[in-house]
């Protein structure tokens, strides 16, 4: 048990610490930029000015440009023509290092190379701005700016369709490279640097993006946060479970040794030596379990999560990392077990030997309130016996209730996660979005082309932009959705009721409103990423969306605010297969739900693990305590058997108590599970909005599993009752 507790803790912990350490190492090794300055005109002058800023330590220009790879499916390849390769360095896996004086070579990304089966030495060509260049692949590897790389069309990267490539500025077909991104490294925090830039260089550049806001970095760190949260809550829960199990097991084993202890004492062993003997017995077991857990946990558990993650995220190394925290927890575990066994042994060894040799005699209980009221007289013998038994064994009762509570809380949590994931899918892909295909418009497409396509597919144009919202002094990035009245995208409230957002209204998503601590009537300001024009809006409505947080408004309203309407996608009811020149990519609803399913795969694993541990917890705790009580009342059971009670009646006697405790634990476990679920969803990242809830079916399933486990454990005892030798058990004391 100590093993399992430490195993899960160190395993899940190792996974999340591993992610952090691996990504940090990767970022450090490749000297990931601290920030990116975007500008159409990055001349030497500007570079000098940036270099002259006191906190700039390093900067380097590159031209980042979208191109289409020369393949049948027209993949989007982002090209980087770099002036130097000292910041955000290309991480080489095969071939030779990126060489700045090499005009003919290209260094491409591993995932794309794998998807297209490209090797070092192959030739590849790209088309951008009407120019086609052909280069020889000199190296294949990763980039710290592309740990997460997905197109706007889907959350899940499809490496057959997107890729990136690095080249020397010399490979650029013209002499003058129109650099558009300046990678910078600087001292101090990003906010200060941002204000310094806007202070000193206002007007000379378009925008500045700091590391934490970079899409790849932020996506990955959000993922890490989720894992950290997972490794925060679950291991703690498991450690608690393990301790509970340990506690009950130790108590059971030691009270089993009761008579033994009495005999040892009667034979003149001192209290200390007896305590030492038993405590050290438990100590070694727990110590060995903990050490094994410490070693095996980080080696095995991360391997369950990493494969599905490495499909989405590109890191050169996926190594679980060990942290001192695990040792502390293991030590805590060992100390806990020492205390528990010490207390258990001491309570026995302090009794006088004559008493110890006999089974524990029940304490005298005074008649309590319940016994005095009229109903008592009508209660069956079974009910009375159980009531008093529970009253006399408060520790056991409490432990049972806590054990069941933990079990049902975990189950609620697991099923709640399951329901949450399904709800989210249903909500996003059936309740809000009703289109069949979404066509992402090429940035270079002109309005008439776009309108033609929209007409052709009978679709509606929408605009989706990344924005930054500020209220008070809280700044959050979110998304802006601009749509004209359409049946294909219908915002809803948190209850999935469609809500109407009028032409002159702005609606903020619930989660964003919560994050910014604003409501209807409040005024906040925002700007579209890539532009520094801040505008003020007053919130008229609140809608809810599970995966995208920000504003929804009409084109008219956008106009009113003085912002340009540039449609980014066309949504349509039709299933679109054909290619349009104005369309960059097309994704169907089916693709999107499929990629969502893929994204949630590692969640399922977690859910199964939870259910498994919930069941284990209930079984072990109920069994331990059941056995503890069974040995105590063996004599009573034997007596009742002699008196002529049937096995069934006796089993019911034990079952009644189990069921009562199970019922109490179950009821108490519900809010606890709900609360854990709530914390989980709330910490699942700023862009997710999931309400903790559990469906009736799963609620019933939780109840069924909890009670079934309780009855199952009870059945183990009914065999014991049947086999109980009356003559033997009654002989016991003599």
């Amino acid at each position: 048990m100590a093993f399992l507790g430490v195993f899960v803790f160190a395993g899940v912990g190792g996974e999340s610490v591993g992610l952090e350490v691996n990504s940090n190492n990767f970022y450090q090794d490749t000297n990931l930029a601290d920030g990116w300055i975007y500008s159409a005109n990055l001349d030497n002058d500007f570079v000098d000015k940036v270099n002259n800023l006191s906190s700039t330590t390093q900067c380097e220009r590159q031209l980042v440009i979208d191109s289409v790879g020369n393949f049948s499916n027209d993949p989007d390849i982002t090209l980087h023509f770099v002036e130097n390769n000292t910041i955000s360095k290309f991480y080489l896996l095969e071939g030779e290092e990126l060489n700045i004086s090499d005009a003919d070579g290209v260094w491409i990304d591993k995932s794309f190379a794998d998807a297209k089966d490209l090797n070092v030495g192959d030739n590849i060509s790209f088309t951008f701005n009407g120019i086609t260049v052909e280069k020889e692949i000199k190296g294949i590897g990763y980039s710290p700016e592309y740990v997460y790389h997905a197109s706007t069309a889907s959350v899940i990267p499809d490496f057959n369709k997107i890729g990136f490539a690095y080249m020397s500025y010399k490979a650029f077909p013209m002499d003058n490279v129109p650099y558009n991104v300046l990678n910078v490294k600087f001292d101090g925090n990003a906010g200060d640097y941002d204000s310094l830039l806007s202070d000193k260089l206002a007007g000379d550049y378009n925008s500045f993006v700091e590391k934490a806001e970079h899409s790849s970095v932020s996506q990955f760190s959000e993922e890490m946060d989720q894992h950290k949260m997972m490794s925060g809550i679950f291991p703690v829960v498991f450690i608690l479970i393990a301790m509970l199990i340990l506690l009950t097991t130790m108590t059971r084993i030691i009270s089993h040794q009761r008579t033994q202890i009495g005999i040892l004492k009667a034979n003149g062993f001192t209290n200390t030596s007896i305590i030492f003997h038993y405590v050290s017995y438990g100590f070694w077991l727990v110590l060995i379990g903990s050490i094994l857990g410490l070693i095996i946990g980080p080696l095995t558990l991360p391997q369950l999560f990493y494969p599905s993650m490495s499909a989405t995220y590109k890191l050169p190394s996926w190594q679980p990392v060990w942290s001192m925290d695990f040792v502390y927890v293991a030590v805590l575990m060992v100390i806990m077990s020492l205390i528990v066994s010490y207390l258990a042994v001491r309570s026995i060894s302090n009794e006088n030997p004559a008493d110890t040799i006999r089974p524990k005699s029940p304490k005298v209980s005074s008649s309590g309130f319940v016994e005095k009221i009229g109903v008592w007289k009508r209660l069956s013998f079974n009910a009375r016996w159980n009531y008093r038994d529970a009253k006399r064994n408060k520790f056991r009762a409490l432990m049972t209730v806590i054990g069941v509570m933990g079990c049902s809380a975990l189950l609620v949590c697991a099923f709640g996660m399951y329901d949450g994931m399904n709800d989210l899918k249903e909500w996003e892909y059936s309740q809000i979005n009703h289109y069949d295909s979404k066509l992402v418009i090429d940035e270079d497409a002109i309005t008439s082309e776009i309108n033609d396509v929209a007409e052709d597919v009978n679709g509606d144009k929408i605009m989706e932009s990344a924005i930054e919202i500020e209220a008070g002094n809280i700044k959050k990035s979110g998304s802006l959705l601009v749509l004209n009245d359409t049946d294909l995208i219908t915002p809803t409230d948190y209850d999935w009721n469609k809500i109407k957002i009028a032409n002159d209204e702005v609606s903020i998503s619930q989660k964003m409103a919560d994050l910014l601590d604003v409501g209807v009537g409040d005024t906040v300001k925002f700007h579209i990423m890539g532009s520094d024009k801040w505008v003020n809006v007053t919130i008229n409505k609140i809608h809810a969306d599970p995966i995208s947080q920000g504003f929804v408004m009409s084109t008219d309203k956008l106009d009113d605010l003085g912002l340009n309407y540039t449609p980014t996608s066309i949504v349509t009811e039709k299933h679109v297969d054909s290619n349009y020149s104005a369309i960059k990519s097309t994704s169907s609803m089916k693709d999107m739900t499929a990629s969502w399913d893929e994204l949630t795969e590692s969640m399922w694993l977690l859910i199964y693990i939870l259910i498994f541990f919930a069941s284990l917890l209930a079984i072990v705790v109920l069994y331990n305590l059941g056995l503890l009580s069974f040995t105590e009342i063996e004599r009573e059971i034997a007596t009742l058997k002699v008196l002529g009670f049937k096995t069934g009646a006796l089993r019911r006697l034990l079952l009644t108590q189990n069921l009562w405790f199970t019922a109490i634990g179950f009821v108490l476990g519900l809010p606890v599970g709900y609360y854990i679920l709530k914390i989980m969803w709330e910490s699942s990242g700023d862009s997710f909005y999931i309400l903790p809830s559990i469906s009736i079916t799963n609620f019933i399933l939780t109840a069924i599993i909890t009670f079934a486990l309780s009855i199952f454990v009870n059945l183990l005892f009914s065999r014991k009752i049947k086999k109980l030798d009356m003559v033997e058990s009654l002989k016991g004391v003599e």
Binding site: P362, V364, S367, W385, R635, E636, K641, V642, G644, L730
Partner: protein, 234 residues
């Protein structure tokens, strides 16, 4: 008087590994309805074994045990339970009351297994414990506990009361009280009472005395004029 119990060549063997221990070796005897029987014998003679076989707690290796015309040795587990519930009242050396139930509850407990309406207080009164009805076993003296245990056994009106050293844990004065009670049960209610004891004096109060030794019947004697327990010379 009709025969209630008949043992015919009963053998009980305990096997432990290769060793076979014969605790009951071809034992045969009969007991009539309403008899007050005392079983005597040295320790390890097989007295408890005999009582356990008769009470249906254990099954014989060989031979026949006929109670009220029925062959107990052929009973399965359920029938044995039924048999214990309806025919046998057990009284143990260490009382074996249910600690979680009060005296009166311990008696009324029997309602759950037999179709008899039991007035716990009335039965307790018959053993002189009407003032202790709501006390828990741990709050009663040994003698009182044994009386509760007798009340529990007689409450369901069994055909026989089997008592294994019922006074073993009591002082002699209390013991006499208990034995007296048992004899009254036998006389007044015509219940068959079988008592295992080490105390040979009790033999004078018995209708029938069975002496066993090494698992065999040594002697069976019948008292035509049994004395009253109170009149014995303790």
């Amino acid at each position: 008087m009709s025969t209630l119990i008949e043992f015919k060549d009963v053998v009980k063997e305990y096997k432990s590994g290769d060793n076979v221990l014969r605790a009951m070796d071809n034992v045969s005897f009969t007991i009539d309805e309403g008899e007050f029987v005392v079983i005597l014998g040295p320790s390890g003679a097989g007295k408890s074994t005999l009582l356990n076989l008769l009470g249906g707690l254990d099954s014989a290796t060989n031979g026949q045990i006929i109670v009220d015309g029925e062959h107990v040795e052929n009973f399965d587990d359920n029938e044995l339970t039924e048999y214990r519930a309806n025919n046998v009242g057990f009284i143990f050396q260490f009382y074996n009351l249910i600690p979680n139930l009060t005296a009166v509850e311990n008696v009324e407990l029997m309602k759950d297994i037999v179709d008899v309406d039991i007035d716990g207080c009335a039965v307790l009164k018959s053993v002189g414990l009407e003032n202790h009805a709501n006390q828990f076993p741990a709050q009663l003296s040994g003698g009182e506990q044994q009386r509760v245990s007798i009340a529990r056994a007689v409450a369901k009106q069994p055909t026989m009361l089997l008592c294994d050293e019922p006074t073993g844990a009591l002082d002699s004065k209390t013991g006499v009280l208990i034995l007296n009670l048992l004899q009254e049960m036998s006389n007044d209610k015509n219940t068959t009472v079988i008592i295992v004891t080490h105390n040979a004096i009790l033999a004078e109060a018995a209708d029938k005395v069975i002496r066993i030794k090494n698992g065999q019947i040594e002697d069976i004697s019948i008292n035509v004029n049994p004395k009253k327990v109170e009149d014995l010379d303790w």
